[in-house]
């Protein structure tokens, strides 16, 4: 029985191919947008989570309030703050970083990028490496005694920054001072990081005439300590040191999890807005189906009369038309889901080309696909209710007379 209620509407859909395709478009665009957005969103969320969890849950970032990683803040952190943090119980290790945006000169060309000053002590260097997910692809790591030596971001191994790639052992002028290139970092995926230079903190202070300033401090809690608790203790100590009341802090402490959450919230909001827009397309698509179905009911008035003369109940006529509109929805859903996944996969490919593999990985969520198809079928059916009802209510005699 069910087969007939699909077969008959299906043949009607095939009869008007052009119109059927046009009817599908609205639904298909909406579903494609929703599927690709959700799939990409999930992929991005996973990617962000992975990035942050690879930092390790035991890391804490202490930043001056306002600005981003100390840039744009009026009050920076100091060496003294670092000592306070290092002394705080539960803190295994802490290290400070300084950062500035400065001039890079090489091959008679000028570029601007970030210069980071980091400690050359092996433990502190390792903490920075961990927390920033740095990896070395060429050369060697900085060590005690290095001064005007620099590591360069991945983009320097390509020829687009200075028309030719920077070679190991070359000289590069950073903020008007010559540095020897001792290594290159692996690709991180964000241009500011991939175009940066990393130099010893001593060299940084000399270069920029700073002495006691740090843009941010990375702390690692001891094994078995709750990082959140350690964070609270650091906050208390620093507040005492700065002579501030609770709530007046001129610094903030964040854990990777908090970062991930903050990013997640932003991502969710963006997704909700975009899916809302896709929803409008679905609404328009639904109206398109309704329009097509009303036209079909009018065109097939006579056929409705025939069906009724042959003994079709009102509910049976209604079912035939509802299935037809549902098939429009489902068809749009199938094409939309396919295109949506295709689009998400293409985006993944673009990420692989731009950033390298393993950053964004798209997984096909069959529950999502199934749900989407059901949803699109339901949209089709809902759009068809009013036309199908009007079809079912037609008087057989008038319908048979209709030319």
């Amino acid at each position: 029985m069910l087969k007939d209620y699909i077969n008959i509407p299906w043949k009607e859909i095939k009869r008007k191919r052009m119109r059927s395709w046009l009817t599908l478009i609205g639904i298909f665009i909406g579903i494609a947008a929703i599927v690709s957005l959700i799939t990409l969103g999930q992929g991005l969320e996973n990617a962000i989570e992975q990035q942050f969890s690879s930092l390790g849950k035991d890391k804490l970032f202490i930043l001056p309030k306002g600005g981003f990683f100390g840039m744009g803040s009026s009050e920076l952190l100091t060496e003294n703050d670092l000592e306070v943090i290092q002394r705080t119980p539960g803190v295994k290790l802490a290290t400070g970083l300084s950062q500035a945006f400065a001039k890079f000169e090489y091959n008679d060309l000028v570029n601007y990028g970030f210069i980071s000053g980091i400690s050359t002590s092996p433990e502190e260097r390792a903490l920075v490496w961990d927390a920033q997910t740095y990896g070395l692809i060429e050369g060697r790591l900085p060590r005690d005694g290095d001064k005007f030596k620099t590591l360069l971001g991945y983009d320097h191994t390509q020829d687009d920054l200075f028309d030719k790639r920077v070679e190991l052992g070359d000289k590069i002028i950073l903020h008007d001072r010559e540095f020897k290139v001792i290594g290159f970092l692996d690709k991180i995926g964000s241009p500011p990081d991939d175009q940066a230079a990393i130099i010893p903190l001593d060299a940084y202070n000399e270069l920029f005439g700073t002495e006691d300033e740090l843009n941010f401090i990375i702390a690692q809690s001891s094994l078995g300590e709750d990082p959140l608790k350690v964070g609270e203790d650091i906050e208390k100590e620093l507040r005492k040191e700065h002579d501030l009341k609770a709530g007046e802090e001129d610094f903030e402490i964040q854990t990777p999890e908090q970062f991930a959450e903050a990013f997640g919230v932003i991502l969710d909001m963006v997704q909700i807005v975009l899916i809302g827009i896709a929803g409008i397309s679905l609404l328009v698509g639904g109206i398109g189906i309704m329009n097509t179905m009303y036209t079909a009911v009018l065109e097939r008035t006579r056929e409705i009369g025939i069906l009724k003369a042959l003994g079709a109940r009102n509910s049976q006529v209604m079912a035939l038309f509802l299935v037809e509109s549902g098939l429009y929805g489902l068809g749009g859903g199938i094409i939309g889901a396919t295109v949506g996944i295709g689009f998400a996969k293409l985006t993944e490919l673009a990420f692989v080309i731009a950033v390298g593999p393993a950053f964004l990985s798209i997984k096909i969520d069959w529950v999502l696909i199934g749900g989407t198809l059901l949803f699109s079928f339901i949209i089709g059916c809902l759009s068809g209710i009013a036309p199908a009802r009007s079809a079912s209510k037609q008087n057989p005699v008038d319908s048979l007379r209709y030319e």
């Binding site: 003369a309 109940r313 005699v397």
Partner: protein
């Protein structure tokens, strides 16, 4: 044997009792049927004849219970149709009456076989049963080799034969044919009339033929003459063929 069988079936299958049908065009009321009384008995071949404008089509809609009267009663196999819901009436109609129309009225998207099975779908007949029955019927009307053709691929006469097969698929007691030869050449028309006559004599179907063509009266046992919405004469011809 046959007389015996007829005697058994001599019950009234359709009864029109003082049936009025009035159409309203704005404020003007137009009485198309004016108190029609007709009994159609099981196994009869009845021709309802009248010139155009006599109310023939309206009469056929009433006899085929496609429409309800403005006044009066119609009984289909003893059931007052005004007591049935629209859907229940449709079901009863589908089971009891097979329609053959002047315009054939096949569904253009469906094949001959699918068109023939259509009425069985609404009666929830199992698929194997209806496919077998529809194929047999199409073979019977001489279209066994064309069951997968669409109506547009068939001639007028062939389409009308598909329609006859469709009318028979639920094995109804009554076949109601509305000008079945009106759109056919004389050869195809004769073929179609021959089939209806055979259904009457061999299968004991009640045949109701609505027409303006006086030549077709020769097939009938009972002729109902309609004029200006009234039955002017009911003529019993006896068992002619």
């Amino acid at each position: 044997m046959r007389t015996k069988k007829f005697a058994d079936k001599k019950s009234t299958v359709i009864k029109l009792k003082n049936v009025w049908k009035t159409y309203y065009m704005g404020d003007i009321a137009l009485d198309v049927l004016k108190g029609v009384n007709v009994d159609i008995n099981a196994g009869e071949f009845v021709v309802i004849i009248g010139p155009s404008g006599s109310g023939k089509s309206t009469m056929m809609n009433q006899v085929g219970v496609l429409d309800t009267p403005t006044k009066g009663k119609i009984y289909l196999k003893g059931t007052d149709i005004s007591t049935l819901s629209e859907s229940d009436l449709a079901q009863l109609r589908g089971k009891t009456i097979g329609f053959v129309f002047q315009q054939f009225n096949l569904i253009p998207t469906l094949t001959a076989l699918e068109n023939v099975t259509l009425p069985t779908i609404f009666q929830n007949v199992p698929e194997e049963v209806r496919l077998k029955r529809a194929t047999e019927l199409l073979t019977m009307v001489g279209l066994g080799d064309r069951i997968h053709h669409k109506p547009s691929e068939l001639s007028g006469g062939q389409q009308q034969r598909v329609a006859i097969a469709r009318a028979l698929v639920n094995d109804p007691e009554i076949i109601l044919a509305d000008e079945p030869t009106g759109n056919l050449d004389s050869k195809s028309g004769k073929q179609v009339m021959g089939m209806l006559a055979r259904l009457h004599t061999e299968e004991n179907k009640t045949i109701i033929l609505v027409t303006h063509d006086t030549d077709l009266v020769s097939y009938s046992q009972k002729t109902v003459h309609l004029k200006d919405g009234e039955v002017v004469n009911i003529q019993t011809n006896g068992f002619k063929r």
